[in-house]
């Protein structure tokens, strides 16, 4: 079971990384072109999120209908349903950073394989930003299986 879980995670990571690389999500210049709605807008990346949702929406229905995942005892779904200030403010701050550079967390981590100093610098400061938030909010490491583990996904 444990080795199967690790293997499943590896396969998911490879598929996700391939999707980011092939679609162009890993290329900040292309992402900026997608966000540049008032300039020379390149709408092609809309198909990445649209295409992903075409798969993910029915896939989640399927998994939720089964009650539990194939390789785990239970699902860890977000428990918070409130539209609160941290959600809005955090998303806005993320939007500024995303618009400045064109990298969001997944593609930035995937792009580390290029070894470019600019990519490594971005990811280092991104991790620092995460640590800064943990420090300011007094967040403690979440123990596996604790109720807090069911917060939103990254």
């Amino acid at each position: 079971m444990a080795i199967l879980r690790i293997f499943a995670a590896l396969v998911c990571g490879i598929v996700f990384g391939l999707g980011l690389a092939i679609s162009g999500m890993m290329n900040p210049a292309k992402v900026i072109g997608f966000l540049d709605v008032t300039g020379s807008w390149d709408p092609t990346l809309a198909f990445v999120m649209g295409g992903a949702l075409l798969v993910a929406v029915p896939a989640y229905r399927l998994v939720l209908g089964r009650g539990h995942p194939a390789l785990a005892g239970g699902l860890s779904l977000p428990a918070n349903t409130r539209l609160d200030t941290p959600l809005i403010l955090g998303s806005a701050l993320f939007g500024v950073g995303w618009g400045l550079v064109g990298f969001c967390p997944g593609p930035a981590v995937a792009a580390v394989v290029t070894g470019l100093p600019t990519v490594i610098g971005f990811v280092a400061f991104m991790v620092a930003g995460m640590a800064l938030h943990a420090w300011i909010s007094g967040e403690r490491p979440v123990r596996k299986g604790s109720p807090d583990a069911a917060s939103d996904t990254g």
Partner: protein, 72 residues
Amino acid sequence: MAGGPAPVNILASPPAILIGGLLVGFGTRMGSGCTSGHGLCGLALLSWRSVVATAVFFGVAMVTVFLTGHVF
């Protein structure tokens, strides 16, 4: 694809890259998710929090690109 590695072309200046990194890391933790977490997983789960978060970070990112590319 033309073959070879996927292009990774960053247009931002080094200070903007580092400030952007800090904001992306801090913001995604504070907002409990990013493009993948809210935009894909959250929307696929039909979560209202994710609908709002996705609208906010897309909107703010578009305004940021407008300001940095066409105003300043």
